[in-house]
């Protein structure tokens, strides 16, 4: 994750959260439980945004919260607890991917002609979510596209479009200025579609609007 000091969102932990952090630092697990419950949804969203493997999300998120507690005494309360926690989540995902890539078997189903047409119709009009059974290959296809853009871009796109976070929330999660998030998000969409068109061109021309 890019962390630019000048762009970093200046945040101070809310007073009640600071108190919870202090108690957790003193070994109070009940206080830490409250912190976990406050932040678990975002941690799950970040992990899902980076890994895109729903079956692994909970294991990695669990590991994040264990690591955070073990090292919470080192947190100095000068920034928001969430910012510190989300950075640890991003690093944990990177470690996980590094280990996973070393032994990952690459098998990804190719798209059928029908699926190519289906994607074409989705991109041109607001389609309700595709049925779960038809979605697996399409998810793999989009997954490959997302693998070709940077980790920041991928995380932002998933947080915005899939998890429904606002650009302000994404800025807070990724420790970035809101305007930077807006520009990067717009570019990420363009980059993803560039890959998408390139891959589909090799298969079958998709009818374009206009």
């Amino acid at each position: 994750m890019e962390v630019n000091g000048s762009e970093a969102t200046a945040q101070v932990a809310p007073p009640d959260e600071r108190e919870l952090v202090r108690r957790a630092q003193a070994g109070d697990l009940a206080a830490y439980e409250q912190l976990v419950k406050t932040h678990q949804r975002r941690v799950f969203a970040i992990v899902n945004g980076i890994l895109r493997r729903t079956e692994d999300v909970e294991d990695v998120a669990q590991q994040v919260f264990i690591k955070v507690y073990v090292s919470i005494k080192r947190f100095d309360l000068r920034s928001a607890f969430g910012t510190w926690l989300y950075k640890i989540a991003v690093n944990e995902c990177r470690d996980y991917l590094r280990k996973k890539r070393a032994r990952r078997l690459v098998y990804e189903a190719d798209l059928s002609e029908q699926q190519v047409w289906q994607l074409g119709s989705i991109e041109q009009e607001n389609t309700p979510r595709v049925d779960a059974e038809k979605r697996v290959e399409l998810q793999q296809f989009l997954g490959r596209l997302l693998d070709e853009i940077s980790e920041d871009e991928r995380t932002m796109l998933v947080l915005k479009e899939v998890e429904g976070y606002s650009v302000e929330e994404i800025g807070e999660i990724m420790d970035m200025n809101v305007n930077t998030v807006k520009v990067k998000l717009f570019r990420a969409r363009g980059r993803m579609m560039e890959m998408y068109r390139r891959r589909l061109r090799a298969k079958k021309p998709v009818p374009r609007k206009g």
Binding site: L29, Y32, E33, V36, K37, Q40, R41, F44, A45, V47, N48, G49, R52, T54, V57, E58, A61, Q62, Q63, F65, I66, Y69, V70, L119, I122, E123, Q124, E125, N126, T127, P128, R129, V130, R135, L138, Q139, L142, L157, V158, E161, V162, E163, G164, V167, N179, V181, K182, V183, L185, F186, R187, R189, G190, M192, M193, Y196, K209
Partner: protein, 169 residues
């Protein structure tokens, strides 16, 4: 597209435009630009298509399952338990001991090799002496069974027929 870096192409405002978060005047300004700039029009269309694809196909993160906190707490307790700490401490001690033993073994091996190299009666030293031709002549051998008996009784008869090994026959 390089032109997108140009502030005239509003790169930092398209996200708000797509979200419908701009005031009417700004929206009209951007739409006026779209009407005249094919590249921006295409970029905005592609951004919309990307959103539609991602929303329709990808799954949001699963919600934490029941008992998530219980599993986190169990993980924390295991991490901080004395048993866990003892395990790492004993592993560290074992590693230190292994290092010491390996160092001692290496030292002994080094000493052995050094001594072996310079000892003239060892196997390698003998080879060197043979090569130099300075090996002493072998001791005189008894000639027959009588000689063996004489040798046993201490009265050695040598190849020259008498008791003096230096006189020829």
């Amino acid at each position: 597209m390089a032109h997108r870096l140009d502030p005239a192409h509003f790169e930092d405002r398209w996200e708000d435009y797509l979200a419908g978060a701009l005031d009417p005047a700004s929206t009209a300004e951007l739409e006026g630009h779209l009407a005249s700039c094919a590249a921006c029009r295409e970029a905005v269309d592609e951004a919309r298509a990307a959103s539609r694809l991602l929303r329709a196909v990808l799954d949001p993160a699963p919600a934490p399952r029941l008992g998530f906190w219980t599993r986190v707490r169990a993980g924390i307790e295991a991490e901080l338990s004395p048993a866990g700490a003892d395990f790492w401490a004993s592993l560290e001690l074992l590693a230190r001991r292994l290092t010491l033993v390996s160092a001692a073994a290496l030292l002994l091996l080094g000493v052995y090799v050094a001594v072996d190299e310079f000892d003239p009666v060892n196997r390698w030293g003998r080879v060197q002496v043979e090569n130099l031709g300075v090996l002493p002549e072998p001791a005189p051998q008894p000639l027959d069974s009588d000689d063996v008996l004489l040798a046993v009784t201490g009265q050695v008869r040598y190849a020259n027929g008498n008791g003096n090994p230096n006189r020829s026959r």
